[in-house]
Each structure stands twice: as C-alpha cells, then as structure tokens.
C-alpha cells in the first residue's frame, strides 16, 4: 500500500526520461566527443601519435617548405584518426603544443564497414590498418642493460 503511494506521487512528477533521437541531452563544454584536427595548425610533431594508448592516430610526414621561409620543416601530408579504436581519453588533446587536435560535440558514429570509421584529414590518405608504432621496447633488455652500466661505472 505504501509502495502504491510512492507510485502515485511519481505519476504526477516531472518526467525523467526523454525520447532520444528527437530530444538529445545537452552536451557540456568539457564533453569528450569525436576528435577532429585543424590541419592548418598542425606542425607534425607526432606527439599525439606517440601518446595515444590505442594507436588510433597515424600521421605521414615529409619535409616541406610550406610557409615559404626557405627552410624545409616537417609537414603532415596524411593524418588519420581511427574512431573504431579511439577511447576518447583526451591524452592527445592535452599533449598537443598548438591545440590543433580537439574534441567535438559529436558522439554518434556508425558505419557498415570498420574502415569507414577511420576519418582522413590532410591531402594524402593514410592506411589506418597499419599500426603506427609497432615496435615496443623489449623490457628484459632494458632491465639487463641497467645493471651493466652500474657495474662499468
């Protein structure tokens, strides 16, 4: 009987649910949505590629005199973000020295093919299936080296 009273009370309360595709939840300033890159600002420092825990960013760089200063600097000709791997941890956003990679408000990604989720930026497409940093440092070697150095010193 007491339970019925609670039910009745909630019957006349405000609704807490909403019809999703028509009415979307408001997103906040800090909400981490899908990543995007401003290629004009990118300096191809590859820091985002190195920090990414899921290896979802691949960058193809070459030396090019893009700003007409006479010096050839690293330039990102290809930039791919594989959304099928990304876990939205925002480490790449924090590490970027020129703030060219950032989160958008978009959070709905769907495709029939996994490769369609890899979004290409830049002038040349990059193959997202190739692991950008396959070589992982072998742990035992590093551990063995350290004592030797100490012994030599």
């Amino acid at each position: 009987m007491k339970g019925m009273g609670i039910t009745l009370k909630h019957l006349f309360d405000n609704k807490v649910t909403r019809q999703y595709p028509e009415y979307k939840k408001e997103t906040f300033e800090r909400s981490r949505g899908m990543l995007t890159v401003d290629m004009d600002r990118c300096i191809a420092c590859l820091q985002c590629m190195r920090i990414c825990p899921d290896h979802c960013i691949s960058i193809e760089q070459e030396k090019r005199d893009a700003d007409g200063s006479g010096k050839a600097k690293p330039y990102a000709v290809g930039f791919v973000i594989d959304d099928s791997r990304c876990m939205y941890c925002s480490l790449c956003v924090e590490v970027c020295p020129v703030n060219c990679i950032y989160h958008t408000e978009e959070f709905e990604a769907q495709a029939y093919n996994r490769l369609e989720l890899a979004r290409q930026f830049g002038e040349r497409p990059v193959d997202p299936t190739i692991d950008p940093k396959p070589a992982v440092k072998k742990k035992p070697k590093a551990a063995k080296k350290a004592p030797k150095k100490e012994a030599a010193a």
């Binding site: 609670i6 800090r30 909400s31 825990p53 350290a146």
Partner: protein, 394 residues
C-alpha cells in the same frame, strides 16, 4: 505469512547442506541422484560473464564452483606496454561501476614512486569525486539486488539517481562513465564555475529522496525480508579468514575501512563513521550500503563546505619517469579494498603492474556459503557480494 514462517522455521536456510539433504539410505532406496548444472556464463542482468557449476539435490545446492576468466582482458600486461599517464584510462575499465577509485589507486601508487606533492585542492576534489563515484555504484547495486528478487521499480529510481550523478560527472570530467579525471600529480581540471552549488543542491535532494524512494519501499517489505534475512550468513571469523573486504566484511560486524584505518589523501581531514552490521546476511549488506551512501553524502557536504583554494595540478614535467623501485596504492573502492602495485625499472613504462581487486577475493565466498541454500537464493547472495565481472577478471 511466508516471511514469518521462514523466519521462525528460519534455521532451515542456514543449516549446513547435509541437514537438508536426503539421507544416504533413502537415496539408495529411491535411486536419487544429484544433478550437475551450469548457471551462466551469460545472464541477461549482468554486463559481464560468470559461470557457476552447481551440483543440485532437488532444489538445494550441494556444491557451487564459480568459474572466472570469461572477461579477461589482460589489463596487467597491457599496462606494461604503455607510458605511465596512458595507463590511467585502462584502470578506468577494471571496475566500470566505480571507476574513480580505480584511477585513484593507480595514481597513488605511481605518486609514491615519483615523490611529488599533491596540492590540497586536488586532494579534496579527488575525495569528492570518489564519494560521488561510490554513490553511483552503491545505489544501482541496491537496485540490482531487488531486481533479482523480482522488484522492478527500485532499479528505475536507482538509475534515475545514477544518471543525474553522471551528468554532474560529465560536466566536471568530460565523460559519463570512463572519466579519466585523476592524473599523476593532481586532477585534470578544476571544478567548473558554479559546480559546488550544483553538487550541494543535488546532494540535498538525494538525501531527501533516499527515505521515500528506497528505504520506505524496501525496508519492512515481507517478500524482501523473506528472501534476504538469514540468507548468505557469514560469520566474522570466516570473513576475516577468507580475506574479504568491503561490505561483505563490514556486514558481519568487523570494522575495517581503508579510508579510516589507513587514510589517504583528503580522508584524514574528514569526519565519518565506518558502517557495520551484526547479522552478516543479505539484509545486513543492504543496510550497510544504505548507511555508506549516507556517510558519503556527509563527506561530500564536509568537503564542499571546506574546499581549499589553489592549484589542482602539481609540477610534473613533460616526461614521467619514476625512479627504480616499487609503490603500492591502497584505496577503499565501493566493493572493498583495491590495491595497485607498480614496479618501475626507471623507464617510460612500468615494469610490472598488479591490480588487487576486491571482487576476485569476495567471489570465493560463493563456494563457501552457497551450498545448503536453495537455487533462487544464489542471486541475493550475488547481491551481497555485488560483483562486477570487469573487476574480478581484469
């Protein structure tokens, strides 16, 4: 009334398995046999996977063997191949109901190696978010317990509260579940403007909703009492012997809480009680969880009243390379004591990371206490342990 009957008869449920089984003579005479049955590994009410091998005598369980490992994602090995800051989002996925404590434990362990000073404001915000995370985990776990007993309403109220806290968390951290908010040396960002007031308003509201929406609905309900009182009885000696932590330990009357007895971060400055109960059954665990939610509310209020000013991030430098050695971080997660052991060889990546999750230990309880219970009593006992399969398989 059903509840009365079972309570006065009562002991039938807590008797050792042999007491309620057919005697060997009768078994031979009628050719009775026990049945082996698989429960799981998939259950629609669970995110993860758990398989129980049951030996049944009629409806009574004779033997119960939990089989773990269906959700093994090799978190420890992955952690060895990643740079120190990049391990934090991995720890988020261990216990996906109470992520903040998982991050906190790892950060505490690495900070011991780094020997950095955490700004007081960052410490306070860590504790604040940790307590919100605890409420976020405890309230749905009550809902799940009742859902398994056949009551559908409480889970809706529980998830309404969880969604509201998630919105607060999203505004502060940027994500609704996988926060990645606590960083080595502090927290990611300060609270947004107007957030403390918003949190205060929500916490006051939750306190007023807790009584009518949860306690009035659940406590004193005959079916709830009949299904939970005396079910899954644990003695304090057994609990200590098995190394249980968290609510399964505290509901037997043993007072142990890492926040109280080995305080870390801002918890030294907070005034709170360790909630214990004497009964050691499923009903006691429910009372403990409600009590802990109340304590969390009390702690959040204290933190919000005396939130220190200042920076939220210590001076860490660009590359994080701890000195050689090892560090251990212990925290009280919503399920019990969670500890992380990090061994460093002086390089960019950890040499070894070990996660001690409370669920792995608490799940061993099933072997001990399920035999002698009826088959439908398994689900309330799972509610007592409140397992998350991500946490026991890692």
């Amino acid at each position: 009334m059903l509840g009365e009957e079972r309570r006065t008869e009562g002991t039938a449920l807590t008797q050792p398995a042999s007491g309620r089984l057919a005697s060997p003579d009768i078994r031979d005479e009628f050719g009775l046999e026990t049945i082996d049955m698989n429960m799981g590994p998939q259950h629609p009410a669970m995110h993860g996977l758990l398989r129980l091998i049951l030996e049944l005598d009629g409806e009574t369980v004779v033997r119960c063997d939990p089989v773990m490992g269906y959700l093994h994602r090799s978190k420890e090995k992955i952690s060895e191949n990643r740079m120190y800051p990049a391990v934090i989002p991995i720890t988020d996925r261990i216990d996906y109901m109470n992520n903040m404590a998982m991050e906190y434990g790892y950060c505490l362990a690495v900070e011991k190696l780094l020997d950095v000073e955490i700004p007081p404001r960052a410490d306070a915000i860590r504790a604040l978010m940790n307590e919100f995370s605890r409420i976020m985990s405890h309230i749905p776990s009550l809902g799940f317990l009742l859902l398994e007993l056949g009551a559908f309403t409480p889970i809706l109220y529980a998830f309404r509260e969880r969604e509201r806290i998630q919105s607060i968390m999203e505004e502060v951290t940027g994500a609704r579940m996988m926060f990645h908010y606590i960083r080595l040396g502090g927290v990611k960002a300060d609270l947004p403007e107007g957030m403390p007031e918003k949190m205060w308003e929500y916490i006051e509201g939750l306190e007023s909703r807790l009584q009518p929406d949860f306690i009035d609905l659940i406590e004193g309900n005959e079916i709830f009492i009949a299904r939970t009182r005396g079910v899954g009885k644990i003695t304090p000696e057994k609990a200590v012997e098995m190394g249980l932590t968290g609510v399964p330990l505290r509901c037997t009357g043993v007072e142990f809480d890492v926040r109280k007895h080995y305080p870390y971060g801002w918890y030294e400055n907070l005034d709170f009680d360790v909630v214990t109960d004497q009964a050691g059954d499923v009903e006691a665990s429910y009372r403990c969880r409600i009590g802990e939610v109340r304590q969390s509310i009390r702690m959040i209020k204290q933190i919000l009243q005396s939130l220190p000013e200042g920076e939220v991030m210590g001076d860490m430098g660009r590359r994080i390379r701890p000195t050689e050695g090892d560090g251990i971080g212990r925290v009280e997660s919503a399920r019990g004591e969670y500890a992380v052991h990090v061994v460093s060889d002086g390089s960019d990546t950890p040499y070894r990371v070990h996660y001690r999750t409370p669920c792995t230990v608490n799940m061993q309880l099933l072997q001990e206490i399920v035999p002698g219970h009826y088959l439908p009593d398994i689900m309330p006992i799972m509610g007592l342990i409140d397992p998350v399969s991500g946490a026991w398989d890692k």
